[in-house]
């Protein structure tokens, strides 16, 4: 089987400071991988390098494109990479306002990616937007409301709908449940799990919340000071961590 995403030696420096160093892994279709580590461990830098938001100093991010097979997205042309960003890739920001257009209605937010890939039939766009609002459990009657009138959890679900409407194959998530109430978090996690299973999505989730990765991720990468210190099956890394830092991380979680 060809990996959907194959990351080789991704390195990013900020001056003399290491953002992330020599990270490599393969992600296969349908796999969900979690990246955990404390603030400043380089997990967000890595995510942004992979998603094309940051140019890495070294390394390759090879994506198995629909038309041309595996291609390095670091060296591909910018239009091509941005096109991936609107079609096969999705990016869910921690703060919904970074990923939504707050001045545009919910329907317009969901429809934007469709229009960006050439959809020009208003009725169809609106029907698909409404369908997606329903799938993320937002009342279809709110299709014309702006996200400023939505709660935090609804905004996050709207952001997910907006990202998934073009049927991407790979979703990058940066702390998708951060800043939400626990009850809202649980609902969102359940929703994400269902969507990942039903759409056969692959996902890379950056978070510092070990409970989130236990529920969502098949695999786990533990980062510290820009480097991957341990990687493996999620429950194995969490229940039998091998590296000193992973052990510290796992033992630091408060038991409820």
């Amino acid at each position: 089987m060809t990996p959907l995403l194959s990351v080789h030696g991704i390195t990013k420096h900020y001056g003399t400071h290491i953002g992330c160093a020599d990270v490599s892994f393969d992600l296969y279709p349908g796999e969900v991988m979690g990246i955990v580590g404390e603030s400043g461990s380089g997990k967000s830098t890595l995510l942004n390098c992979m998603a094309g938001h940051l140019a890495p100093d070294a390394g390759a991010v090879v994506f198995d494109t629909r038309t041309d097979g595996p291609k390095d997205t670091v060296t591909m042309s910018e239009p091509e990479r941005r096109m991936l960003g609107r079609t096969d890739w999705a990016f869910v920001h921690q703060h919904a306002r970074d990923g939504l257009r707050m001045g545009v209605s919910a329907g317009g937010n969901v429809g934007e990616r469709l229009m960006a890939v050439g959809e020009r039939h208003y009725g169809d766009i609106r029907n698909r937007a409404t369908d997606w609002l329903d799938r993320v459990e937002i009342d279809a009657g709110r299709v014309d409301d702006r996200p400023t009138t939505f709660s935090g959890g609804m905004q996050q679900r709207l952001q997910i709908a907006r990202n998934l409407v073009t049927g991407p194959r790979l979703v990058f998530m940066d702390e998708p449940t951060g800043g939400l109430d626990v009850s809202v978090q649980a609902r969102l996690l359940d929703l994400l799990r269902g969507l990942v299973r039903d759409m056969g999505l692959s996902a890379i989730i950056v978070t510092h919340d070990l409970a989130v990765v236990r529920l969502l991720a098949d695999r786990l990468m533990v980062m510290k000071s820009g480097r991957v210190v341990e990687a493996g099956l999620t429950d194995q890394v969490l229940d039998d961590p091998q590296h000193a830092y992973s052990q510290l991380l796992v033992s630091s979680v408060l038991q409820v």
């Binding site: 239009p79 329907g107 317009g108 934007e112 990616r113 229009m115 960006a116 208003y122 609106r126 014309d144």
Partner: protein, 289 residues
């Protein structure tokens, strides 16, 4: 006339603006940055249009200025007298007699010819601006032809009003490439933008951008398959000249709410009346209220 450079601006500045104009003509619809000068009038009064006019005027030109179609409003009169004084060119209100026409918010009703230049005053040249405030991002969107956002604007219109309610500054796509703001002309004028015999130049003074449409350029108004573009106007007839096909202004004529619809293009209206056409509101023709 020795007090001023010809047409107010110095020769170096005019050359700089002409270079921007030529680049704009070479890449239809592309916004060319230029070093906009301070002009002896406030921004918003047509500083961009005036600089473009100054750069293209020659002593042999005949100059016309219209504001919302009219030759006799403050803005039109001031700019006309500005160039009379600084360039000493002939001025006219007759569309067919003018070689350079500076306009604010209208395209003349009479079809323009190959030896004419139409100069638009533009307040905000960036059609994507209202949805994407970052200039760095809008430039990238233009360069990569990422125009999905433009349709988001139209989508919002339909979702809110049931139809595309944008009635002026209606976005167009030029030669299948650049999306362009045609300046705040009514969408009634949009079909005239395409395939025009005259050169069309757009100047935005405050925003420091020039763009252009060379003669006979393809210009298409954006729309949806199920909500096609319509060049609408008031469903009335000109009360002065009886024209059915021209863009109309609605004028309140008394304190009792009396209204008059008349051609916004004053020269066109006068021409028709001189040719004997009459509307129902002319003295002697009033319909009893």
């Amino acid at each position: 006339m020795t007090d001023y450079n010809f047409a107010y601006l110095d020769e170096q500045t005019k050359r700089m603006i002409r270079r921007a104009i030529l680049k704009g003509l070479a890449i239809p619809g592309y916004q060319v940055p230029f070093a906009s000068r301070e002009m002896p009038m406030p921004y918003g009064w047509g500083t961009g249009g005036v600089q473009v006019s100054a750069a293209v005027l020659t002593p042999e030109d005949t100059f016309k200025v219209i504001d919302q179609g009219a030759d006799d409003t403050t803005n039109a009169v001031s700019i006309r007298s500005f160039f009379e004084r600084t360039a000493g060119v002939e001025t006219t209100t007759d569309t067919s007699a003018a070689s350079v026409i500076q306009t604010r918010h209208r395209i003349p009703e009479e079809p323009l010819k190959e030896d004419q230049i139409l100069v638009y005053q533009v307040p905000i040249p960036e059609p994507l601006r209202f949805l994407e405030p970052r200039e760095s991002e809008t430039r990238k969107m233009h360069s990569l032809e990422e125009y999905g956002l433009m349709h988001v604007k139209l989508y919002e219109d339909i979702s809110r009003h049931g139809h595309i309610a944008t009635s002026y500054a209606y976005p167009v796509k030029v030669e299948g490439r650049y999306v362009m703001d045609p300046s705040p002309i009514p969408k009634f004028d949009n079909p005239k933008l395409g395939d025009m015999a005259a050169i069309q130049l757009f100047g935005a003074g405050r925003e420091q951008r020039i763009y252009a449409l060379p003669p006979y350029t393809q210009v298409v108004s954006l729309d949806f398959e199920d909500h096609p573009f319509e060049a609408s106007k008031a469903d009335q007839v000109c009360g002065l000249c009886g024209a059915e096909d021209s863009y109309l202004d609605e004028v309140i004529i008394d304190d009792a709410g009396g209204r008059l619809f008349c051609c916004s293009d004053t020269d066109y209206c006068l021409g028709r009346r001189n040719a004997g056409h009459q509307g129902s509101s002319l003295p002697g023709n009033e319909v009893a209220a």
